[in-house]
Symmetry: D2
Subunit: 443 residues, 4 copies
């Protein structure tokens, strides 16, 4: 008898958290925030430093873990699938309640350390880095296996929770990318092997369950980027690329094409520094050898004054892909940094706008400012890090779970995955369970 | 004084034809049909064989060249930019009126020969194959230059018409593809060189003038195709790919990935045969060495009976990407060919649906039939062969024409290009002329 | 113990048919066709007259009633909710198998008679007209109640099937219209009364379950029509309105505004005649007093010759709202009728294009022809006859069923209704059953 | 010789301002703000009170009238078409520079007074109320005629500027509504009469030039509202309607249906008070007799405590239709006012979201908060106050101008109107002039 509690991320996209109980022991999978809600709350004039967990739960910014209050002492570990904020950023607020370690891949753990450091939070939990494609024993009942998978950041894993009743696979945030620009290919062999054993349940990413496609490889994003960086009339233009700071493979491509253009590459922005620094600390990349990385305004300003005079010799990679008002790109557009855009500077958005009202607004405002400067804009130079319906079909074929729990979405997305599962022979309310936040089920 | 007559393709997408008069001599650029109108007319029960030019003009299927009646004897040449039907397929009906040669690249000329042969048409015009990136003198006034460019078929050219008043560049149907899978890259050097001389006018493709992007390379389509051919659970599935028969680069990619899968490749369908045969006759490809190419039903049926038994050993490349009722794929879906689809056969549409009512209907009907068979469908594995707004901006920057004539579109598309040109400093009604079919203008 | 068989309309929009078994008796609800499939099949060159039931079942044009073969002798009645073809037009092909009467409201029965007459079909079943808001006993187990409801045609009913286990409400094709232009308002009192008794199951229209709105009243369509008929510069223009022939309320409005314009009204087209004639036979309308109604080409031609000369004195109401190639409007556009469109004639589409590939194609082709004539086109002067999500919520609140069966849609539409029901406290797989065509369930 | 300066509203939607020079005299038409830019600027932490005209011009919030600097002393009048902020709200910042009166209809003038009062601005200009459908002489050269027209607020006019060279009609922000809920119908007679005289130029609203429709009457919005207020299961629900405070006709309808429900009506919010008070001062409405109107928080709170206990006895009409964070509705959703939403309270948005990033974000955030409270939401119960393409066609037919100047839009919208004008025989760059902000042209 296994009990699953769908704490967060089953009624909305964001603040993912799930708990699994076997015998009298529990593990927690992911502990994330709802980024938009946190920022909106701050924008309404509230100060982050005054926010404690209870308040954050009330405004819906972090998962409401009071639903597992009576499981508290039984929790043997908090296991993180990857380093994105909607999966790890509630750790500073919630982890301390549980007397257990936090597990993640080495890169994930480095990012968590940075988070804790930034916010000056202290938690008692031990941080344990577990290698990709290896296992770790927790308590008497759990063996936790990290299966390498691809996503829009490094060292992402599917988590196989082995208990005596069978295996639960937690597959939030993944794509099947056979040509990743950085990192290994998905570990299909292991998934297929599990499929031949006893997979009790699959908890699985529904974000694009309604998109009838296979998500293209990061290689495609690389080709799109090559097209706009190497194939346009940009000889005399400054080139600025903005992307997700945690998307180190994308930054790899930008650096590569910048070099082919014989330009110097400068990474700008605090989070640009943080993620590449975290990756450098564990030897995943070495971007500081190939590019200047400037985290702080003073240094950026000095550099920009130089770039202004030599605009055809530089590629700037900076924060601001979602139009964040305090990002480097927004500050440039506002004239708050010493760089004047010229008519034909190229601004490349190597990203898509995350469909949150806040991001939509910020991006639209940023783009309007950029258009007034008459720069050239190349948008959506991007492919997603999340699986489409056809990838989901392939995953289900590989691991053949007894039960399916759609996750990582609102009801409509969860129902989309349920629709696919019905097509594949599963049965609503029997072998497919469409849950809500804060519910428990025994299988 | 140069006179331009916008005969066809300026009030709709289709039946492209333009005439240019310098002194007392005229050249015609392209002579195409409106494919949808021709087919709709046939579907309404009319028989193609009874159609003469006058009737076809009346139903809007071919350009109304009576507007240049008084120029008839002055025409020194008919020059085709590439082999697509909306650019060459009115030649069998209209060319014979003009006592002059038909010029095109070798591949274009081979396709025209096939067209004439098919329809049992005889025309008196000499067919002249002119090499890409070379020039040809016509009459006393014209020097015709073929500038290599990329598109969704082979040996496409921009046509530079040099007259004493300057150069008119005819740039219909192109993209700027720096990584073409087959054929050479665009001849940017020549375009830039022309830009430094006297480009009087640019007649230019408006199809996607309202799409604010650079069109991605065919390389991207190749990567998308690789993802779905090599990265899905298709070990036991029959794989069928359908694409445009004239898109020989796309077929190249399909063959390549089919081989990597250790499968035999079979091309099926009459037009699949025709275009690859035309390309083979002049040594551009040699697909018949790498694949079986079956044009006729009898041979296809025999082969399909074998494929049925060995579905994991074949990749079929066939006609039907627009859902044409008499295509190979539609016949399979109808059960008119000896192949029974199985639940998880993979059907890959390496194309997009051309936004014509006829195609939309046919594709929707085909897809519904396929869904009933429960096969897996991968759609839109494709990138366009037409330039977006940012490519158009680059072209205008390169060639710096005095006058711009938006072409290849309805009024809305032409106005989209005009909008771009205004942004770049051109002036509506003065240096930008938005024309209609059947109008003349002197510049 | 009640058994429900979802014979047709649960895997697609079209060919509705449901059977309910109580004890050893059965009733059938609706017996419709898939209009598009029938027409497509004919368009592919097949002749309707050669089609028997088996063939029509094979091509998916009529419901596959072989799934209730063993219930055949137990069927006590075939009950039709309203006169639309997707609810009644399979009667000529299937009803004869069952030794029982066909029940419907008087208008529904008149339309069925016309259908049988047209196709020269003979069936042995007795046709029984049952008044709206009354009941009828069938066999030993069934009491059938017709509850007046609003829709886009007249005398539509929700069917309450009373059996000893409770009541099953069959609510396909309805809206809640409190200001119907013709006919009575919905019988809310009865629905609320049933809600206080024992409603076992609700079989319910999912067509727009994903549209988060209340469907507006026909009154709104009337106001929209008034705007374009009375509020545009049409003094010298011919006015042509096309709409659904069975939508007699819409025709009522057209006639009313035509009269206000002091114009003569002429209804043209065979189906225009049939539906208004059926309604006149039972005294629902008397349009032939207010308008000329011309069913046949010869009379139309004569009249059109007169209209041509007095275009500002007429309003034509004709068939062709879906662009049907043999409709009056299409023939006019083709020049097959003696009326030449002038630049500013007004064509009003008092309808929306039904989202079937066939209709989309036909309408697009028709509109293109009309645009070439430069007439003015007013589209989408329409409101739907189907309920949105908020109407569905109201219905469920009123009748409080134990079980909900989403109907009249493909899986995605059915799942949309399931989503709503979950929101209202129902449970997937337990109290909501998402069925497919050809399945049975016992409740 | 007439000179036109397109000062604002020709490169974006917002901050409308146009100047017309005849002889050595000038009139200014409208003086509006870009609402979104002003608010965004404030949201970025800037304080409105510190903003002077120069700063507001720099951030693009008010028109840059420095382009008519040398005309300053020649300005004889500032004439406002109606009371919306994008047409009048720059008066407090800019009018004082010009030694001339401000003209408007009585309601427009009342709103301007309120604006000046609110912001504690003092301007020297005389405010002159001119009756609808009358004329006013300005300087030696101008006769200004106010032609009654319909829009989404009261007393809107088209402005006919009569000079010796002919008449310029300024037709920004209008619809042709033949069934206005409040106010008179459009003065078609006068427009037609002008069309027979000499209309030199038409400056005209392009906002929906790309929408191929006639905009429906406010009567349609009234019917939509009736449907959701009178035709849903709301017996026990609190009903809250939010709409534009200046849309007094819409508020008329809400009050009417509220009364039919036997409920008390309470208007809440500062701007709700301001606009209805302005209208009451000049006797246009008398809402304070029919409803309570509460502008301030203290009174609202007291009332809400009562409403909480008697929710089925009230209709609340409040601010917040665009999700403004400080509006009454947003405060309710945040729990900042003493009203707790219950599961099935009805929230009716009698508006559409203005497609500005700020509004889109605010509305989305508000709706998410409302959905969490599980209230029922009815959106888009609205029709636009702006003309569609078919209304524009009718206007051009009526007034037959020599020159057309598309206004009130970005380039794409202006080009849409140009497209229509081309269709009607006008010529790009000759009789149609697509201008930008800050340009002058002589006709």
């Amino acid at each position: 008898m296994v009990e699953i509690c769908t704490i967060g991320g089953y009624s909305e996209v964001g603040k993912n958290m799930t708990a699994i109980k076997s015998g009298d022991e529990v593990v927690i999978l992911d502990m994330g925030i709802n980024v938009a809600k946190l920022i909106n709350f701050e924008e309404e004039g509230n100060d982050r430093s005054t926010l404690d967990a209870r308040k954050l739960i009330n405004i819906g910014a972090i998962p409401d873990d009071t639903v597992i209050k009576e499981w508290g002492s039984k929790v043997k570990g908090i296991i993180c699938s990857h380093c994105h904020l909607d999966h790890v950023a509630a750790i500073p607020y919630l982890a301390d309640k549980y007397n257990c370690p936090v597990l993640g891949t080495p890169f994930t753990i480095e990012v968590i350390k940075t988070l804790l450091n930034d916010e000056k939070f202290k938690i008692r939990n031990k941080l344990v880095a577990v290698t990709v494609n290896s296992s770790y024993k927790l308590g008497n009942n759990f063996e936790i296996e990290f299966i390498n998978i691809t996503h829009s950041t490094l060292q992402t894993v599917m988590i196989a929770v082995h208990v005596k009743e069978g295996t639960i696979i937690y597959a939030n945030d993944f794509k099947f990318d056979n040509y990743p620009v950085l990192g290994k290919k998905p570990n299909y062999e292991r998934l297929r092997a599990l499929g031949k054993e006893n997979v009790l349940a699959l908890i699985v990413d529904s974000l694009y369950s309604n998109s009838e496609r296979k998500t293209p490889s990061e290689k495609v994003a690389r080709e799109l980027l090559k097209d706009v960086m190497l194939g346009t009339e940009n000889q005399d233009s400054l080139i600025i690329v903005t992307t997700f700071a945690s998307h180190l493979a994308r930054i790899r491509s930008i650096i590569d094409f910048g070099k082919l253009l014989n330009r110097k590459i400068v990474l700008m922005g605090r989070s640009m520094f943080k993620y590449s620094d975290a990756a450098e600390r564990i030897g995943l990349v070495n971007y500081s050898k190939e590019a200047e990385i400037l985290a702080y305004a003073r240094l950026m300003k000095k550099k920009l004054a130089d770039i202004e005079k030599n605009r055809s010799k530089y590629v700037i990679v900076c924060t601001g892909n979602q139009g964040e008002p305090e990002s480097v790109l927004s500050k440039m557009a506002d004239g708050r940094l010493p760089l004047n855009f010229k008519q034909e500077d190229h601004i490349i958005f190597a990203c898509k706008t995350i469909p949150e009202p806040l991001n939509i607004k910020n991006r639209a405002i940023l783009e309007e400012k950029l258009k007034q400067k008459k720069v050239r804009i190349f948008s959506d130079i991007h492919v997603s890090g999340h699986c489409g319906r056809e990838d989901l079909r392939d995953l289900i074929k590989m691991v053949r779970p007894q039960y399916i729990f759609p996750a990582h979405g609102d009801k409509h997305k969860l129902m989309g995955l349920a629709e696919l599962a019905v097509e594949m022979g599963y049965s609503l309310g029997k072998t497919i369970h469409v849950m809500e936040d804060g519910k428990k089920i025994t299988i």
